[in-house]
């Protein structure tokens, strides 16, 4: 269970990106985070694993208050929170395998991993994970030689290597075309259904929300303006979240 309580984030330049946001995500949920660009979705996801330090409020994961942890403890907690990014954030010149193995770094002592040496068991898991995502034959090529959809699958594989309880996906399909979007969303859905990983995923398209999410929250100007089931978001709600001028965009 993830609990977010009265979360507020004020950037050093004074921008209030999140204003007193509270919600709960029971285990096994696939939660869609929707909102216009600039509404605070990325900030929210990054405050949960404290890549961005919250200004006030609490993040409680399975009873542990993450916001109260010292940096070294926080690092340990991050191991169970995977993250998937819009721009994939792969090391382009490194091989796919090295990128995937990097997901294990949190479990390894520094000295051991500095020479690009990972335990044999990790290698096996990495190859299995790649196979699961349909990339078994790509392990030894450079990450930037893959297509966008393939790179995002590597990103998911890296997150899975952490053996996470929770995956934060920040617009994982915003850089991809519609067909690929569905392929990536299906992989995330599999992580959710088969592995029981809780997923928080920010999305732009209402149709993707309807199709994949089990619950949803909406942000507008850093404030929580919707919380409920995806089916409850009708056109009126949609306008409320995305503003009056927004049109519903249908993909596929």
């Amino acid at each position: 269970m993830l609990k977010v309580e009265n979360l507020t984030k004020v950037y050093p330049n004074g921008t209030v990106a999140l204003r007193d946001v509270s919600f709960q995500v029971p285990d096994g949920e696939f939660l869609a985070v929707i909102g216009l660009s600039g509404s605070g979705k990325s900030t929210l996801l990054r405050c949960i694993n404290r890549i961005i330090e919250p200004t006030s409020g609490r993040i409680i994961l399975d009873g542990v208050d993450l916001t109260a942890l010292p940096p070294s403890e926080m690092r340990k907690q991050r191991r169970q929170i995977g993250m998937v990014f819009q721009q994939f954030n792969l090391v382009k010149r490194s091989s796919v395998l090295t990128n995937v193995l990097a997901g294990r770094l949190g479990y390894l002592p520094s000295y051991m991993s500095l020479a690009n040496h990972f335990p044999a068991a990790d290698h096996e898991t990495a190859l299995k994970t790649l196979a699961r995502l349909g990339l078994e034959d790509k392990a030894h090529v450079r990450a930037d030689s893959l297509s966008g959809g393939q790179q995002q699958r590597v990103g998911i594989a890296r997150a899975l290597m952490q053996d996470p309880k929770l995956i934060l996906a920040d617009e994982p399909v915003a850089s991809l075309d519609p067909v690929l979007s569905h392929s990536i969303m299906k992989h995330l859905e599999a992580c959710n259904k088969e592995d029981g990983i809780t997923i928080l995923c920010s999305l732009h398209f209402l149709d993707l929300v309807h199709r994949y999410a089990t619950s949803a929250i909406g942000l507008k100007g850093g404030q929580l303006v919707f919380q409920g089931l995806p089916q409850e978001i009708d056109d009126a709600q949609f306008k409320e979240i995305f503003g009056q001028e927004a049109e519903r965009v249908t993909i596929l």
Binding site: N49, I51, R75, K76, Q77, R78, R79, I81, G82, M83, F85, Q87, F88, N89, L90, V91, K92, R93, S94, S95, L97, T98, A102, G103, R104, L105, G106, Y107, L108, S110, S113, L114, N116, H117, H123, A139, H140, V141, R142, S145, G155, R158, A159, Q162, L168
Partner: protein
Amino acid sequence: MNMLTAKPTKAPRNAGVAAALSLVVPGAGQFYLGMRQRAAAILGVVLGLGVLIQWVFADLGVGEVTWGSLTTSWLWALLALLWLWNVADAYGRARGRRSADAVGVLLALVIVYYIGWQVTDANLERLFSRFEDVKGVLNALVHPDLVARDELGAWRPSENFGDLVGKIVHKPASGLLVALGLVREGALVPALVPGKLLETIAIGLMATLFSAVLALPLSFAAAHNIMSRVPGGAVIYQVMRGVLNVVRAIDTLIWGILIVVWVGLGSFAGVLALTIHSIAALGKLYSEEIEHIDPGPVEALTATGAGLLQTIRYAVIPQIVPPFLAFTLLRWDINMRMATVVGVVAGGGIGFFVVETIRKGGYEQYAAALWLVALVIILVDYVSARWRERILVGEVLTDKRAPRPLARAARTALMAALLLAFFAASWSLSQIDLRKLFEPAPTFWQVVGDFVTIDVSPAVLQVVSRQMLITVFQALIATTLGALAAIPFSFLAARNLLGDSPVGKAAYYATRALLNFLRSIEALLYVAIFVFWVGIGPFAGMLSLAITSFALVGKLFSEAIENIDPGPLEAITAAGGTRLQSVMYAILPQIIPPFISYVIYQWDINVRVSTIVGFAGGGGVGLLLNNYFGMLQYHKAGTVVAMIVIVVTVMDFASAKIRERLV
């Protein structure tokens, strides 16, 4: 009035007022019309030229004419014309006409180039009248002293070839060989005595290695994104950047004369001079690369719970190693070129050899050095470019765990062993002696003290700025001449224009070869020819610079032509246009901006180089610096170096800004 050309004039301004204002203060009328940039440009140009005309007239008597009792510069008449043009411009603009900019630009250019021509002592007549005498030298250039006939009439490498490349001599065997039982005690075994060329290669290699290793930590201190996370980092960043810029502005050869005071003449001084300059150059490039890394992977690894060291190892290093290697290879190329000339002041290497042979009038030996230098540099240039391409484009990378053929591992091991042997040989060849660093000559600190307390008395400042002016103009005229000559050749060196006919291919390869050959020899090595031809002075330096400019600009131009969009060319050909028409309408519009940008870039480079052509008799500040050093007047030498730093930095900044606006 035609509806299409009518401008939406806001408040109509009075043309008479505009003209009158511009008559009083150049640009004032344009300012009144709201054209601020134009106004500032006009005022700046007129004022600048006025100062320049007065300066060169008073100091060097440029443009002097006598009218009865009045002695003045006739250039004032041109400036008056420019002033009138500015009045006409203000009047015309006020009435919505676009006056001919070309007239104003042309007037300004005539003034600038006339002054430049005069102060660099350019004298084409001498170039022709001395041609008969110089034929001998030119003849020597195509008959380099590389081979000679022995008593039996067979061709063998000449003595000079041995001095340059290396000789085989027979020496008593070393104890090791005897102990191994390979030879008998006291037996003579052949050994290689390396020549000046090998020494030069070693100097370039050692300097590249040293500077790469030393620049690495410094570059992190000069990277904004790193230092902004460290307490007090902002200050360190500013200081580092400043130091790197100043050190970079001082040419390798100028570092050379300073370092000779420290460790004495020799190859080691050359290595140090190259290393210092190249640390600064690499430090800047490395730090910019660090600043441009993609923060995404760093964020991603932090999110997995990786530690700081792990994040650096897996998210930062993989991003920076390839560009760092590429920059180092590029620097190796540059260092090899500089290694061929650093000996002129620091001793050691082929530069020293050239100075010595010229002194003795050995032009055939000098020619041999040039040919060998060209050979080595062209090779280095090629290898460096190929490796850079491979590193940056990257092969499909294989992991450690991926099956790796044994042959590959063996090849890697062999390469490593070779490199190590190369390193050891270069170390001894370039006479690296780190102890010397800590035992400077007794006068060293005295000299440094004098050097940093620069002499700012008006008399010295006047002399130094006069030479600086000559240096800047020398660079300008050389760039102009080189670029003008390069234009026709660049078309001949552009593959896409010449087609696949045998004649086209032959022209292409011949032009490329000529450009590559000329470009492989540093301006300083050409000076010797021109000193003999037109005499010591800025003209000789200018001609040398013109040759290297011709070669580099020619290469850049031809690449710009090769990179044009073929679409318009195709369209004009399809429309039945002639070859000349396609050049006029499809090619020229695409290449003029990069051409101008390259010319400015070349001028910037030339200002740096022209600060040193004086070391070989090419005039300008280099000559002055050399003289001050010779006369042990270190305060004044300090003034020269300070002035160079200022001018080079300003040129660098201005050139970057202008080029930014062009593209």
